[in-house]
């Protein structure tokens, strides 16, 4: 902001007057705003915690925590209603496990290829495609799973319905893949070339360098990538809502239809009476979900920080 009244002549005049502190009120106001804006990130995060606690905790007056966590019966509208969430919790384990089992080997292999083997022309053309994959909204991924994948899964595994944890996991692997590829690739490319040169000088082949030098050196970055992928798979809603099958029984196999926590919230919240026990129970599931993803992300962030510092001298 320019000072309105000042001109060069006045500026010259100020010089003779001296160097007294000027207040520049306009700038102080802007800088105050800047500071407050930066606090909003904390405010929103705390706000999320506060809302989840406030709306979710009252359920424990109705259903004790152990029954809520370990009960298998979710009957929100029977009389009296019961709120056991084990079903959702187990589904929230199954689906990301399937997604991770598929996405990790493929993602790490792809990252290793792009970072260590591919000529730059190939890398430059493959990376945008993977970025496009990352850009596809989850509802579209779910839609594809619903129309194309689930019939396939149904016939391949001879199931009653293709809508299952397996189908959801496969589609979710597509959403974890771009994260795993890009974070792993960054970790691999951050390794100083001297390490590779040293191994070549000892007569190692290129593959031996990738296998015994690059991947071990980038291991913590790759594990962070995997964790971020898992975090994404746990928190993903639309895909699992559309194709996991939505069954209310504790799934013992990924080929069964199931309802992960996110899907339980999404499908129940529209019908829940505001402030009623079901509503509270869904917020409590949200709280649990928040805590799980928070833990996963915090660990991933820690690991990633360590990897970043590794090669800084």
């Amino acid at each position: 902001m320019r000072k309105r009244s000042a001109s060069i002549a006045i500026a010259r005049d100020a010089r003779t007057k001296g160097l007294q502190r000027r207040w520049r009120v306009g700038e102080r106001v802007i800088e105050g705003g800047i500071f407050l804006a930066s606090l909003l990130a904390i405010v929103v995060l705390l706000g999320i915690v506060a809302v989840l606690l406030r709306q979710g905790l009252p359920i424990f007056a109705h259903t004790p925590p152990w029954e809520f966590l370990f009960g298998t019966k979710w009957y929100p509208v029977s009389e009296p209603p019961t709120f056991g969430t084990t079903t959702f919790f187990v589904a929230t384990i199954w689906v990301p496990v399937v997604a991770t089992v598929i996405a990790v080997p493929i993602g790490v292999a792809c990252a290793a290829y792009l970072a260590e083997v591919a000529p730059s022309s190939v890398r430059e053309s493959v990376k945008p495609v993977i970025e496009l994959l990352a850009g596809i909204p989850s509802v579209v991924i779910g839609f594809i799973g619903l129309l194309l994948l689930s019939p396939l899964v149904q016939s391949m595994f001879n199931l009653n319905t293709g809508l299952s944890g397996l189908a959801a996991g496969i589609m979710l692997s597509l959403m974890s893949l771009p994260i795993i590829v890009s974070v792993s690739e960054d970790a691999l490319r951050a390794i100083p070339d001297e390490f590779r040169q040293a191994a070549y000088a000892l007569g190692a082949t290129r593959w031996e360098v990738v296998r015994h030098v690059s991947i071990p050196a980038a291991l913590s970055g790759i594990s962070a990538a995997i964790m971020l992928g898992v975090g994404r798979a746990i928190g993903e809603t639309m895909t699992v809502l559309m194709i996991a099958g939505g069954a209310l029984a504790v799934p013992v196999s990924p080929t069964q239809p199931m309802m992960p926590m996110t899907a339980a919230i999404a499908s129940g919240i529209g019908n829940a009476v505001r402030g009623g026990p079901q509503y509270q129970a869904l917020f409590a599931i949200g709280l649990l979900l928040f805590l799980i993803t928070l833990a996963v992300n915090l660990i991933a962030d820690r690991v990633l920080e360590r990897q970043k510092r590794k090669f800084v001298r």
Binding site: A37, G107, S138, R206, M238
Partner: protein
């Protein structure tokens, strides 16, 4: 120790690289397949009328105009709220923040905000904007919810874009007696603009595709008209796709693919726009 022959080492290298290449091809092929398949199937129905007409017969006939407009409103709302806050917070973190506990906490909060599941943002929006602030199930509540979700991205991209501006510019400006804010406003911000724009466009693209939060905060199933004020309910493309795909029996296949295509086109075109902005800025800087 057994020494391996050069031949076996070469064979194992060939095999290994073939495996890595296969994985890369698989990822690329699946991505392209999804996109191309949607384009091909959707192209059969998407035309001018489909884009500009209101839906009839529970979405089985007519077009998707209100959903398309609703999504643009949401993108705009998200941008208007999340961009200024993101830029201001980015400025603080890049230009002012001392190395202290508070700064650490802010940065940690941002990292964690980025990882909060979208459905949880939905619950947050329902609790705060819909109920506590009493905005109801409205465009405003949904925009605010999506903006909160976008905040982590707009702050991070602004911060990184500002940090990337060389320190010697700041020194040069301060040395001619410019104030800190003048330096930021007239020298640093213009330099960081492409990075900030990239982040903003990506945030809009995300907002266009998000479904779970607006499902919780209350997107409308069907609306003949458009929202007249921020306090009106709204339709949105991703929610529309969800409902036509899952909830309406007898929905023609073509319509489903058409909605998917339009949504994908909106989201990906903003994605590509962000990439273009980034690449052009990089070229300019040389």
């Amino acid at each position: 120790m057994r020494t391996r022959s050069n031949l076996s080492r070469r064979i194992s290298q060939k095999t290994a690289f073939a495996v890595l290449l296969t994985a890369t091809i698989a990822v690329t092929a699946v991505s392209l397949f999804i996109i191309i398949h949607i384009v091909v199937r959707g192209a059969a129905i998407v035309d001018w009328d489909f884009l500009t007409q209101a839906p009839t017969q529970a979405g089985k006939a007519g077009g998707i105009f209100p959903a398309l407009v609703g999504t643009f409103y949401l993108m705009l709302g998200t941008l208007v709220i999340a961009l200024p806050i993101g830029v201001l917070a980015g400025i603080y973190l890049s230009e002012y923040a001392p190395k202290n506990r508070l700064t650490k906490v802010i940065n940690l909060a941002i990292v964690n905000l980025a990882g909060v599941p979208s459905i949880v943002y939905g619950l947050f929006g329902l609790g705060v904007f819909v109920l506590m602030l009493n905005f109801g199930m409205s465009l405003l509540a949904a925009s605010l919810t999506l903006a909160c979700q976008a905040l982590a991205m707009t702050i991070t991209t602004s911060r990184e874009a500002l940090i990337a501006v060389p320190a010697e510019y700041r020194a040069g400006s301060l040395a001619v007696g410019a104030t800190r804010w003048q330096t930021i406003r007239h020298l640093i911000l213009p330099q960081a603009r492409p990075g900030i724009v990239t982040g903003a466009v990506l945030a809009m693209s995300r907002a266009a595709g998000e479904t779970a939060p607006i499902l919780v905060v209350g997107a409308a199933f069907l609306m003949r008209g458009l929202p007249q004020s921020p306090f009106d309910r709204f339709m949105a493309l991703p929610y529309h796709l969800y409902t036509v795909a899952v909830h309406i029996p007898g929905m023609p296949e073509d319509t489903k693919w058409g909605v998917a295509l339009v949504l994908l086109a909106v989201v990906l075109s903003f994605n590509i726009l962000a990439t273009v902005v980034r690449l052009r800025a990089r070229k300019q800087r040389g």
